[in-house]
Symmetry: C2
Subunit: 330 residues, 2 copies
């Protein structure tokens, strides 16, 4: 690994744009490449992050970066750069359809691209598809930490820590609040959330026009309340043996799409039984002034540094964010 | 490693006795050996934990276990068992004087004892002595996770997770509440706490008779309030690069020695600045009905499983509880 860790970010939506801003504040990171659905930008000496920080929703990196180019297959352009120029990849793709993340990783594997990876994947079924690639990933000496955002990610890891005090775990309850002042900044995220509402699924949410999304939000005063979401916290906590059944994990929350202030404090509550026969709960509560972007992208980069560390120490394959500590990025 | 992980516990004070009870409730663990200052007990097929669970404060394992023997050097007896019969060692020694933990580990190293280790070490200076042995420990292919209790341990690890949301960390504040119904169950712990009071140090606290401790507690209505304690959370968070200076970490709390109910909820609060310019705080709050023993020994065993995993994967040396996730123990 170089003095500075050279990153590629796949995706330039809300999370990708936040990643650009965070990387620009980290001395030990540089951004070598970024792509979106229309194009990519690459500079082996590091992209101009000030320029990229101006990227607005709906724009392509190909338009705003002096190193940008349009492409019909931007992910392939990143693969063609080759792994000798990239130390870590944060996959910040919207992950629609469900198999998109696994299919994308498969392309890197098939190209023999040897690297460290993280994602901010949310849905259980998408993660299950991804986890099947662990053996293939080992063959190309790569290391991938999945579910490395906030939920799953930060909150799920906190559940593993909390679980240590107990002999058995009764339930893990994640209840989040997200406030965004303009839903159009997070189009993919909001559509994913709509996909969790009763009567909707991810495909029909993805097929909705912006006007239809607006209309749905209007009917609900800008707020979506979601219960029993399909969130991969369940599979990660089952894999880490925190729960003996994923039914013991529930994820839900409220997103306010018209107010940057969170409607509720995001809280992970783990309830279990202690060796001395007590039932009790540990809680991990996120500060209300931390944005979704801070709580997702910060951990994803911290886990990316850990994934690189694991790779450099010969530990390959796919791991959950529940299995290793994220590392601080200077 | 065998089907069941064969442990040795060094120390049979409050923490050692809690370890016996927790191990007896874990299918995947067995206790091969335990020692205290007067003797030890060893059975390669696993000690009788029901028998050992009856151990009272002041008694020696040599007296209550049918496999028990008196010894003038109980730690040496454990060393003589040899590392082919022990998969992991939890060092639950009172750590008085300061160099005791490092000296003990040195004895294992000098004997070429190849194993996984954890401790529930508290004081910064004791941990600094220990950390210096990392290279020597690597030579004997052993792995040691230090500060694997509650503070440092559970709460410090939660701080590393929490820190991921922030660009820079202003402070980490650990404020604990401990309630014990009878201080004589935790003589060493209470003396360590007294050593943190103004006008006391660890040596004079250690030299106090039980009657003197009683008298001090009587004057304070059974409660000790401690601020700016020398706790190794600071060195661990500095090592993990969560803080750029250990002065940003403060540890304190209240121990009530006459009431099992906690006088305050144990809370880790991490305050930092986000990439988008906000100052905010994440909190990790332990359930009031979890005892000190549950919050210290549970993590220590979870980290011991991780230490063994690291060793089995060729990663040797001394690590902090801030560097790796503990693992669940079935």
């Amino acid at each position: 690994m170089q003095q500075s860790m050279r990153l590629a970010v796949l995706g330039a939506g809300g999370l990708g744009r936040a990643a650009v801003k965070i990387i620009s504040q980290k001395k030990s990171l540089s951004l070598a490449a970024i792509c979106d659905s229309k194009g990519y930008a690459y500079n082996p000496a590091g992209l101009d992050l000030e320029e990229l920080s101006e990227l607005q929703a709906g724009q392509s990196v190909a338009d705003v970066s002096k190193d940008g180019k349009l492409s019909s297959d931007p992910i392939n352009e990143i693969i063609q750069i080759g792994s000798s120029h990239i130390d870590g990849i944060f996959i910040a793709l919207p992950n629609l359809p469900n198999a998109f993340m696994a299919d994308t990783l498969k392309r890197f594997i098939d190209a023999g691209f040897e690297c460290a990876f993280t994602d901010a994947l949310k849905r259980t079924s998408a993660m299950e598809m991804l986890l099947k690639l662990s053996q293939e990933l080992k063959q190309v000496k790569s290391t991938y930490i999945t579910g490395a955002g906030a939920s799953p990610g930060l909150l799920t890891a906190a559940a593993v820590i909390a679980a240590q005090s107990y002999i058995s775990i009764d339930k893990v309850d994640i209840w989040w609040g997200v406030g965004i002042s303009n839903w159009q900044e997070y189009k993919a995220t909001v559509r994913e959330d709509i996909g969790h509402l009763d009567g909707y699924d991810i495909n029909c949410a993805n097929a909705m026009s912006d006007a239809q999304v607006e209309e749905l939000l209007e009917r609900r005063d800008g707020k979506l309340e979601l219960r029993n979401m399909e969130h991969a916290d369940d599979v990660l906590l089952e894999l880490a043996q925190v729960v003996d059944s994923r039914d013991k994990v529930s994820v839900g929350g409220i997103i306010d799409t018209r107010n940057a202030k969170k409607p509720v404090s995001t809280t992970m509550t783990l309830t279990g039984k202690t060796f001395d026969g007590k039932t009790s709960s540990h809680r991990f509560i996120l500060g209300d002034d931390t944005s979704m972007a801070a709580n997702v992208v910060g951990p994803a980069l911290g886990y990316l540094k850990r994934a690189r560390w694991l790779k450099d120490n010969g530990l390959y394959g796919i791991y959950g964010s529940t299995e290793f500590m994220p590392m601080m990025v200077a």
